[in-house]
């Protein structure tokens, strides 16, 4: 809501610079407060933000210039984690969207499988980690399987929901013009379902991060989660905090990237 009396240009300026400045200001103030509280306390459990920042720097960005200053740990922790996360999420996205759109347009298939899928979605995915562990052993395949199984359901069910919501007039128009099924799904159903599809993808992305961490905490020889587990066993609290902050930053960046894509795509499609 714009405040009455504020002239147009100043509103735009506020949106462009004032609001972000205020938000960053609050964030900095919080960090400063944290620093001021933790510095005198000197608790091993609660390191100061500066210590955490320094640890993150020495962990990941103090490498040789030949490797763009990235340390060895970037290649053993962050890269494996991210590749598993993205691969698992992408597989789940492709499978989930395709299956969801097809199921959503087929009343019969949904009648048979809907309850089954809703149940599958209700299973807390970490519970299946032991099963994937014996099936695939510790390592890449088990982690990707865990992520895919954990995150495919929200995408699938949301896509089906979106596909079902295509209005009857559009369906009948397409049938009257004898539009082939493939073309119809791609050019009518998908665009109509996109807002829901993106909602599912967003939930899945957050879940994928959770599943990545879980699978690494349980069974992995590398990755961010594994590094955090080692830190836990060695009582390196600053290292643990650094891991938490790193995961937060990654989660924020991934979500921001997805939001940017979503905005682009939805704007290109007049609803």
């Amino acid at each position: 809501m714009s405040t009455a009396g504020a002239a147009a240009p100043s509103t735009r300026l506020w949106k462009r610079f004032g609001r972000p400045a205020q938000q960053w200001g609050v964030l900095l103030a919080c960090l400063l407060g944290w620093q001021l509280v933790t510095t005198p306390v000197q608790s091993v459990f609660f390191p100061t933000p500066l210590e955490i920042g320094a640890r993150m720097w020495s962990n990941w960005f103090s490498g040789p210039a030949s490797r763009m200053f990235l340390t060895e740990a970037v290649f053993t922790d962050i890269l494996p984690s991210m590749s598993r996360l993205l691969l698992g999420w992408l597989i789940a996205a492709v499978v989930g969207v395709t299956a969801g759109l097809l199921l959503g347009r087929s009343g019969t298939a949904m009648a048979y499988c809907g309850a089954l899928f809703s149940f599958a979605r209700s299973i807390p995915p970490p519970a299946l980690v032991p099963v994937f562990l014996v099936l695939f052993g510790i390592g890449f395949r088990m982690q990707v399987a865990t992520i895919v199984f954990g995150v495919v359901w929200p995408v699938l069910l949301n896509s089906a929901d979106g596909a079902r919501a295509v209005d009857v007039t559009k369906t009948e128009t397409a049938r009257a013009f004898r539009i082939p099924r493939g073309q119809w799904i791609g050019s009518v159903v998908l665009p109509a379902a996109l807002p829901k599809v993106f909602a599912g993808l967003r939930i899945s992305l957050a879940l994928a991060l959770i599943m990545m961490v879980i699978s690494e905490l349980v069974g992995s020889t590398n990755g961010i989660g594994h590094a955090m587990q080692l830190a836990q066993f060695r009582f390196e609290y600053t290292q643990l905090w650094a891991g938490v902050v790193l995961l937060g930053v990654l989660g924020y960046a991934l979500n921001a990237a997805l939001t940017a894509v979503e905005k682009r795509v939805l704007r290109a499609l007049p609803q």
């Binding site: 714009s2 009455a4 009396g5 504020a6 002239a7 147009a8």
Partner: protein, 268 residues
Amino acid sequence: MGTMLDVTGLGHTYDGRQAHTAMSDLTFTVASGELTCIVGPSGCGKSTLLRCIARLVEPSRGQVHLHGDLVREVPEDLAVVFQDYSRSLFPWMSVRGNIEFPLRSRGLSKAERRERATETLGWVGLADAAAKYPWQLSGGMQQRVAIARALACRPALLLMDEPFASVDAQTRFDLEDLLLRVRKEQDTTVLLVTHDIDESVYLGDRVLVLSQAPAEIVADLPVELGDDRDQITTRESETFVHLRGEIARLLRDTPIPDSTSSQAAHRG
């Protein structure tokens, strides 16, 4: 008959990317017990006018007096019926709940509220629908609930913003007759805004004709149709036909002041 509403020099300008003056300087009065219709082209600032009178919008200029008191905030004894019944009735309250809701803050006891609701539902012919929810009713019935809710407050002034614009033609006739009947029975003062010339003539004791935005009063016409009006015979009468022609001509011939700003007129 005393003066119920006294509007002097009322004007409003919306700030924003393009400042838009919805009305510049309106002055008129409404007498007690009178049903005044304000008719004007779409987007001329009629809704803004009602909102300023009800103080839902703070007017940029001018003053409003209700039974002699200067209006500074939403007046206690005022009620509004909006065009969009589906957005003004509270969907989570039953019909009775919707009608009783404003009465609570007016200090009525539970028994009194219940009695009022039953009574006003009787006026609008919905005695049987008290326990239903708005979404279980047709559009016309929902708007009758909105009217009943307004009347239950026993308002000194009832403001109606295009109240019958969202219902079908037959329902519209029924609701118009209902309004005429109820306001005669209850002796309510009504200020009704519409873009429909026929409706303004059929309902009003008096019609104020507004120009394009910024709205100005171009005519103040008494309607000599008497108290007993009928959807068929009244609309055929010479007075009716003559008056509607006169208003139509006024609306057609008023110069359009600044065409760009009137096109971008802010409605609502």
